[in-house]
């Protein structure tokens, strides 16, 4: 069945006022703050190279400042595997296909 996209009229706008209130508060907080001028990156450094080195824990190889993210890299790896397994498990129940 095809149908054209329609504006969602079953949205509960009263609850949505909470989102508006949150935006007002956040905007108020941000606009008042003073952050100073931006410290940009060195002109001749390669960004992607720097990100790559940071990911595998060799943050000292690049002139850009960074922390090491090796442990986080490994953990996210495991999380992604777990997510795939979970999604497949959930989809398989009640006689789902292999």
């Amino acid at each position: 069945m095809t149908s054209r996209p329609e504006l969602a009229t079953d949205a509960d706008l009263a609850r949505g006022a909470g989102a508006l209130a949150l935006f007002v508060v956040l905007a108020g907080a941000f606009l008042v703050a003073d952050f100073g001028s931006a410290a940009w990156f060195p002109a001749d450094a390669s960004m992607t190279e720097g990100i790559g080195y940071a990911l595998i824990g060799l943050a000292g190889e690049t002139p850009l400042l960074s922390n090491g993210f090796l442990a986080a890299f490994e953990v996210v790896d495991i999380v992604l595997v777990a997510a795939v397994v979970a999604a497949v498990t959930l989809a398989r129940r009640d006689g789902g296909e292999r």
Binding site: G18, L22, V25, A29
Partner: protein, 675 residues
Amino acid sequence: MAGSLVTAIPLVPFAAFLVALLVGHYAPRALPRGGALPGIAATAISLVLSVWAFLTVGAGGATISRVWTWVPAATDSFALTFGVLVDPLSALMVVIVSGVSLLVHVFSLGYMNDEGETGLPRYYAGLGLFTASMLAFALASNLLQAFVFFELVGFCSWWLIGHWFREEGPASAAKKAFLVTRFGDYFLLVGLVGVLGTFGTAAFAGAESFPALAHAALEGEASVNTFGVDPATWFTTLGLLILGGVIGKSAQFPLQTWLPDAMEGPTPVSALIHAATMVAAGVYLVARLYGFYALTPTVLTVIALVGGFTALFAATMALVKREIKQVLAYSTISQYGYIMLGLGSGGYVAGVFHLLTHATFKALLFLGAGAVIIAMHHDEDMWKMGGLKERMPTVYWAFLSGSLALAGIVPFAGFWSKDAVLHHALTVGLGGQPLVLVAYLMGLVAVAFTGFYTFRMVFLTFHGEPRSETARNADTASANMRVPVAILGVLAAVVGLVNVDPLKGVVGERLLFLERWLNGPLPGIAGATAEHYHELVVDVAGFHGATVSPVVSAVVSLVFALAGVALAWTWYHVPEPVEKTDALGPAKTILYNNYYQDEFQTWLATGVTEPLANAVDVFDASVVDGVVNGVSSTSLVASDRLRRVQTGVVTTYTTQLVFGLVVLLLIVLLLGGWF
């Protein structure tokens, strides 16, 4: 030594009580004569010990000793103790109590055992406990101890009146006796607490006793806590409160309604408790506290008025009674009125004297009536008796002796003592106390009534022709009933000679034995002599005596008594007497119904107290319970509303989260000074 042997006086009958109760319950066959023999043995031992104590006191050995400390004294507070006070008054009382109790125990062999009554161990246990309590009460050294035993004798009265509890009458009468006396005892308890709070001690005698402290306080030499009220007024209040218990226990107006109904109990019980000893507990308390009462002229006047009024009031009701024990019951109420009149007008010796003689002749009259009742097979109606003089001679002569004493005919006991009371009331009344004079006049009129109803009783019971089959076939009383009656008959004739007040001018003061006894040697117990009380009455209470010759007063009361006797002779000393009560007209109904006092008191309970109690109950259930229930229902309603927050819809929860976050952010930003 002296202390411990004196302590045995109440303990021996208590042991008899335990024996009768326990052996009678667990091994009834092992109990000889249903518990009578242990009781007789115990009261005999008590009598011997009492006489020994009496003689010791006479030789100058009066003592106060502490036996047991109930509540030890804390800092800033006083101790509650139990002790023994042996002085002339208490020694006299224990002799009277143990003597009458012994005679009643012997009489009960004939009244209860020989008639095949059941429940004898219960009966003798009750008599034993009563004797023990009354003796302990007489020997009490302070008001708290006296109160404890006061209540205990009240309990024994309930127990013994309700001996035949399976019938409705005795059970109800027992309850009535207990409740009416309890009502008075409530005031006594309040007074006791007041005394303890004011003086810090409730001791009767000695330098540290509260009468001594009260006297010192009135003289300004000591200070006691009178709660901001003038001392004289406060002591009057305490005296009146204690008087409440006295009025209840001694069956004075308005708490006299229980005594006639108490005649539902066995006659030996009536003789012991409701004639000679328990009702004496009230007036004994007044005598014991005389050092305190002598300081308060208002209370003394109240005592005298109550006594005089009760004497007249009860005597009028005794005029129309048909049952022999009822006449004697009203006579008891009336005679205790005389004792109160004597004590209230400042005549300590006179009051105690009448107490002594009354115990003798009233116990005699009740025991004699008991013998008659047994002969008439428990029919008490005097109009069915008659002619018993020939069939029961011993009982008749003893009864006559007692009746002459009661009516106050010279030289029998009642004449000397009643005349002492009336003379004292007359002198004080003429000496500037008009209310006491009014009480004297009431007492004087009652003398005539007393003579009349006493001899109406004698003539209807013993003289004339027998008016029923039972009277015709009446047997003479058995030996164990005749012996106590005979002993008391002799005593009633002679005991008055211990204090021949009217003949003082002739024979000198040496022969006023009772007065000398009550003044007796008291090393260590100052302030408990009759002389000291007399001083207090004259100096502190202001009761001065006018000079009236005792002989004149004696002759006046004797004339009144003889007038009453003469009228009774005319109407009833005939072979076939008839009822004359209709001549009273409308007064007859009122007197028959005891001035409707019973109905009035029942109305007070059901018509006044019960609705009030119901109203208070409604208040309690609706207001007090309402508040408590309201607290819980607030919590219940609030939680019922609050739980609807959990709707189960996810978006509701996230909405709540977001709104909460907004609020938190605002708070943190504003307080942190971000803006």
